[in-house]
């Protein structure tokens, strides 16, 4: 139903309408995790993975709900699926790479409350994307989230070594940096053409 090309969907989700910097989604982990570069990249990877899985499940669920004409169950089934997907990812990582599991720590279960993932499912449903478009959208969203997280982490690591006024330190400073990043990303608007 959508006329957007796959490229413009990807660019839109990752740069132009970056989930963190344009929609303020995923802020909780964004401000909490972004102080170290290493954790930031790992978190970004985990989130991208969960986004892909949730996107596919959300597509399937939406099709099912339309078939049985129960649109009111959308939210509750989406969030249930996301929570389960995170559980599965958690168990999978624990089995295959205990080191990674320890490194991610508390952040893994926190992905469930990451607004960005639920928002992804809701947005793609509203836009009526097909299956492939959903996957591209999820990939773009995850990449964009990781990008924002990594940029923030790099900046904050540098800022931690600089002299800043006491009252500004911490979250307020992070927010100002986020704001500047958001302005910078506005430059991407119109990328990919119409």
């Amino acid at each position: 139903m959508s006329q957007e090309s796959l490229v413009s969907i990807f660019l839109g989700a990752s740069l132009i309408n970056n989930f963190v910097l344009a929609y303020f989604l995923g802020i909780c982990p964004f401000l909490g995790v972004s102080s170290k570069l290493e954790t930031a990249t790992r978190m970004g990877g985990a989130v991208t993975f969960v986004m892909l899985i949730s996107s596919m499940c959300a597509y399937g669920i939406q099709a099912l709900l339309v078939a049985i004409d129960a649109p009111y169950l959308k939210l509750i089934s989406f969030i249930a699926v996301i929570a389960s997907a995170v559980q599965l990812v958690e168990m999978f990582i624990k089995k295959t790479s205990p080191a990674l599991f320890r490194a991610l720590g508390i952040f893994l279960p926190l992905i469930t409350t990451n607004c960005a993932i639920l928002a992804l499912a809701l947005f793609q449903t509203n836009k009526g994307y097909g299956f492939v478009e959903c996957l591209v959208y999820a990939l773009g969203g995850g990449v964009g989230f990781t990008l924002a997280l990594v940029l923030m982490a790099g900046l904050r690591e540098k800022l931690a070594l600089a002299e800043t006024p006491g009252v500004v330190r911490g979250t307020a400073l992070a927010l100002v940096v986020a704001g500047l990043l958001s302005v910078a990303f506005m430059g991407f608007a119109g990328l990919g053409g119409s």
Partner: protein, 211 residues
């Protein structure tokens, strides 16, 4: 343990369904009213309107608003029941996100006589001027949408030109500083008109019957 979860799930389900059932009539009514108001806005002189969908056999059939997402056309009638025009939807990718518009097509003048932006997430102060700029809105009082010989396509594709360069009645004078958004409006109208108007004009009789 799972019993408790199922129990809670059941109560939650009940809560949701009740809320849905209780609010649905009001919501549907409000949506229909909003659409009526929009149709009236893009086709002045409308006293009543209807909703038609295109059947696979090429005929238009009266329907209601129960299937959201189904492409519809909305014929508009004056006080005496005469068909004056149709309201149609159009959409195109703007600067930030998809722009959805409703436009009114006049049967007699074969032109677009009114445009209303239904949904837009364009930049405030820049792209959103497609809604607020009075000069831009002037474009849509008599935008030529005649069909070519044979009635299968538009005689002249609708397009947005640079501000001040409008030379023909099928062109839209763009907004300086909001190029992408004003071009999106042009593309949306052109795509929708090109795809709907040939069928609409061919089957005008389908709409004239006031059932």
């Amino acid at each position: 343990m799972y019993g408790a979860l199922v129990g809670i799930g059941a109560i939650c389900g009940l809560l949701i369904v009740s809320a849905f059932v209780l609010t649905e009539p009001t919501i549907e009514r409000k949506k229909a009213e909003a659409l009526e108001r929009a149709i009236f806005e893009v086709l002045p002189g409308t006293a009543s309107s209807a909703h038609f969908r295109l059947r696979t056999d090429g005929r238009f059939e009266r329907t209601d608003l129960s299937q959201p997402g189904e492409p519809l056309v909305h014929p508009a009638y004056d006080v005496s029941g005469e068909l004056i025009g149709l309201a149609l939807e159009a959409q195109a990718m703007g600067y930030a996100d998809t722009i959805r518009i409703l436009y009114g097509y006049s049967i007699e003048s074969e032109a677009i006589v009114g445009v209303k932006v239904l949904e837009s997430k364009e930049t405030p102060g820049l792209g959103d001027r497609i809604e607020t700029d009075a000069a831009f809105r002037e474009n849509f009082h008599a935008l030529d949408a005649r069909l070519a010989e044979g009635g299968k396509a538009l005689a002249h594709p609708i397009r947005t030109v640079k501000h001040g360069e409008k030379a023909n009645s099928w062109e839209i004078d763009g907004i300086t500083g909001a190029t992408i958004s004003s071009q999106a409006v042009g593309r949306a109208l052109d795509a929708s008109a090109a795809s709907w108007l040939p069928d609409v004009r061919r089957r005008l009789a389908d709409f004239r019957r006031m059932e």
